[in-house]
């Protein structure tokens, strides 16, 4: 698996190289290098490193919006007070991706573009209605994250396109969000995960967002369960129906981390626990 390694000096050069058949992009490399080593992916003639491009690593907090450069390492994102304070589900998810060593180099864009069904950053970003910026020699476009994942390892990126940033609208202060996940041990890929974001107003649920990981070919929004919960009061019957709907939306598989049955059970537990015993004003 010998290949050339080129540290790109500019975004323009990266766009040009990304369009070539003999090149592949590398950011933090924590997934890609393992895939190459295990021959789960053919080695290209050249890896083009974009991890040090300042345009891709900046994290900018604007009014109501956080723009995270696609190549910002997870550790940098976690260090942002705005993430911890306003986007708790994202902070909870990023904190359990790999180890410290991994988070120091792994990037948010890498976690998303790798398009693993269990990518932990995806469910919280989905419930925060994040969008992704994709750019290449052909121009720049924005896409809701919910339209980005097409299948395991497959995304809406066009040939030559690079994810440049992830934009996260900051939820209103009254919104509540949480990320739940189970894995066999602390350092493991998720068996199943669920992010939840909602508001509780006058005892009624509003702006409900649910997104699950590791239970379908892609991270996915649970829209049927969301619609059911919209406008309803939290009680056991409401939650039971939501769980039933959520279980109908996911398509888990059996693998060495758990059976489809167990994954489905976990999603139900996560969903109930996200809402159970929560009151207005809870963070």
């Amino acid at each position: 698996m010998a290949y050339d390694y080129h540290r790109s000096g500019s975004l323009a050069e990266a766009f040009a190289l990304a369009a070539r058949d003999d090149s592949a992009l590398i950011a933090g490399g924590t997934d890609l290098l393992v895939a190459l080593r295990k021959k789960k992916r053919a080695a290209p003639a050249r890896l083009v490193s974009i991890r040090s491009l300042p345009e891709l690593t900046a994290i900018e907090a604007g009014p109501g919006l956080l723009r995270i450069g696609a190549c910002a390492p997870l550790t940098e994102i976690l260090a942002q007070p705005v993430v911890r304070e306003r986007l708790p589900a994202l902070a909870q998810a990023l904190a359990v991706i790999g180890s410290r060593q991994i988070r120091n180099v792994a990037t948010l864009g890498g976690n998303l573009c790798n398009a693993s069904p269990g990518a932990d950053s995806a469910p919280p970003l989905l419930v925060y209605d994040a969008t992704v910026e994709l750019a290449g020699t052909g121009g720049r476009r924005e896409l809701p994250l919910s339209e980005f994942f097409l299948g395991p390892g497959r995304t809406a990126l066009r040939p030559g396109e690079i994810m440049t940033a992830v934009c996260v609208p900051l939820p209103v202060p009254s919104a509540q969000s949480v990320f739940q996940r189970r894995s066999r041990v602390a350092m493991d890929l998720a068996t199943a995960s669920l992010a939840v974001n909602y508001e509780l107003q006058g005892g009624v649920l509003k702006s409900v967002r649910l997104a699950a990981g590791a239970v379908a070919p892609t991270p996915l929004r649970l829209r049927a369960a969301e619609s059911w919960l919209e406008g309803r009061a939290v009680n056991e019957e409401t939650l039971a129906k939501a769980v039933e709907l959520a279980r109908g939306e996911i398509k888990p598989i059996d693998d060495l981390r758990g059976s489809a049955w167990y994954r489905s059970e976990l999603i139900g537990v996560f969903l109930s626990r996200a809402f159970r015993n929560r009151k207005e004003g809870d963070a």
């Binding site: 393992v34 295990k38 189970r182 066999r184 041990v185 602390a186 350092m187 493991d188 890929l189 060495l256 758990g258 059976s259 167990y262 059970e265 976990l266 537990v269 626990r273």
Partner: protein
Amino acid sequence: MNEFRFIGVDTARPDAPDKVSGRAQYIHDITLPGMLWGAIRFSDHAHARIRHIDTSEAEKLPGVEAVITAYNTPEVRIGFLRDNFALKRDKVRQFRDEIAAVAARDPETAREAAALIRVEYEPLPGVFSPEEALVEGAPLVHETDARGRARKDNIVPVRFAHHSGDLEAGKRASRHVVEGEYRVPLIQQSCMGTAGCIASFDARGNLTLVAKTQIPFLAQKDFNRALGALGLEGRNTRVVVPALGGGFGTGLDTHAYEYIAMLLAWRTGRPVKILYNREEEFAFLSPRQSASARIRQGCDENGRLTFREIEVVQDNGAYTSWGATFPSVMLVPATSLYRVQNVSFESKIVYTNNTYCQAMRGYGNPEITWPIESSIDELAELAGIDPFDMRLLNCNQPGETTPMGLKITTCGLKECLERTAASLDWKEKRGRQDAKRRGVGMAGVINVAGGGKIYRSDGSGIILKPDDYGNVNVSYGGVEMGQGLHSALALTVAEALGIRPENVIVNQTDTASCPWDVGTHASRGAFMACNAAVLAARKLKARLLEWAAEIYPQEVEEALARARRHSSFKEPDFDWRDAARRGQFELANGILTVTGAPELPELQVDFGRLLRAVHFRRQGPGTTFAEDAFYEPPTELPDWDKGIGNMSATYAFGAQGVEVEVDEETGEVKILRLVAVHDVGRVLNPQTLKGQIYGALAQGIGYAMYEQVLTDKGRVLNPGFTDYKLPTACEMGFPIDVQLVETNDPEGPFGAKGVGEPGLVPTAPAIANAIFDAIGVRIRDLPITPEKILLALRQRR
């Protein structure tokens, strides 16, 4: 009150400074001049005939120096049943089978070349579980045995059984009887340092093997036999052991990769290194055997055990290594954990097309203590007796002889159980099944602790060789693999001889310079090494003190003469000449003096000075010193057919308990605390001893809750740490209370017992018993995953 100067005192390990600074040299770090790298081409099928092997593409690759197969090398048979071959000729029986190998200038080229070898197969139907393999007419893994005689079935020809007392009478005397089938999975030892070796030949045909082994001398024997196959009869193998990145049983047998390195080195005339990467370690090294056990146990109306009946079936995999002899160790707890008079034990080891198996810490004991200790709780539940009380009632006692003929000398089991219960607040916590779903459970352990005789000698030799500077070099044939053997040796030699531990230097294990040792396994390392060291140190000390009669007065007179030049000097108010005449010499802490002497430097002779004065004697010929000793424990090689024989010089006992909390919605088990109380005979170095227990506990937790090598038709599905999960520091984040019970065993060095394994053994049943106490669900197959618990909860409803 410690009667010793160094024994029993927390002491830093002598190998630690090199390890924390990156200086310790593992097989990974060693490169020899001119060295080539070997790589192996493994099978693409679990069971197939080899039709054709085409190595031409591999040979053409630049940098390749040799490509070998069974067709261009002599046949080298391996394994104690000789049923395995270094390179396979006609048939492959597992995915791990070695078909060809390459030596090349670097590891990448070697692996690339190995991948270029084309093999044509005729696939054969395989058998992938003992159940499949035992069906009448099942495909045969081996059509013939090593002597070429036709085989009729897939049963491995080894027998371990035991029948004592009157089983039927025991059953009739039972008020309560429980029965259950328990399973343990295939797991990987998971040494942090992967396996590897370097083979090189001298010009006379002698082999030097730098090997990650726990059995340097048995390996020497195996390799000398292999040299015969190369036409090098009478040539010798020197086995040198580098720092080991863990052992845990992986090094208990010689491996095909080592013979392949030997063949490549012989073919190329250059040193050849083979180093497994992690994926190869998982897929192509022998893991811990899976097994199932059916157990029946009964008790009378008071809870006294009436009988125990066990049938074990083990999946041996395609070839036979020491994993097949796990039942030899299972016999110990099966017959002797708690008092039970009527015992039946049968085992069946079955060939399959799965990977073949090997030893791991505990060697059969965890596999059988899992059913025994789970079943004790089931029996107690049925009889309406507190399981702790049932254990105490049937507790082993010092001085008893068990049905296997084990002579229990010292036995701290009762105290271990009582202290475990006390630490867990047992009487208060047990049986509450409150809303928090918390529960407590315990399990006991018996383990060989004074060697484990499975070979015609279970002994260990040692050489102590002082130098001119007051250091004593120790040559010992056992292996330091992280467990703290060198620390135990340093303390023992220092204590027994009367010098300081930092002046004890333990040499690298090397068959050329160390006396014979059977191997480092069965918790025997410190017990054997230190017993041998005490014997040798006594001999050495006696000789040194004989010389003291000449040297001491001479050195003291000289020192006094020098001191008298100072006006302030006062003659000592002590008749040291008289004490010396009476031979009242003392060597302690590296200082020779006479009994009762005041602590004056003039009356003290430094150990190094003593040695130099003897070596470079003023008048007459001097001498240097070296003393050896061989310790053979007073044990018996059991009759395996009958399962009788006192295989160890003493036995370790212990008890462990846990408190758990179970999440009934997810099935997750949280360990709130763990108690481990072990009868260790005597503590040599508290730090390393506790390190052994903590480490064994973590392996026990892994075995109980997380680990399993998953296979599909013989192929390993999770060959790496991404998919095979060891406990991390976070899983081990609960409080652990380790307590050591000292029973001062008469056969142990300073009273010590071997303690490497026991901490692993009762961990799983203690957890399963606690889960039952918490939620009333019993899990009978390891690992105990949340999914299994949730499923069991659902099925109960």
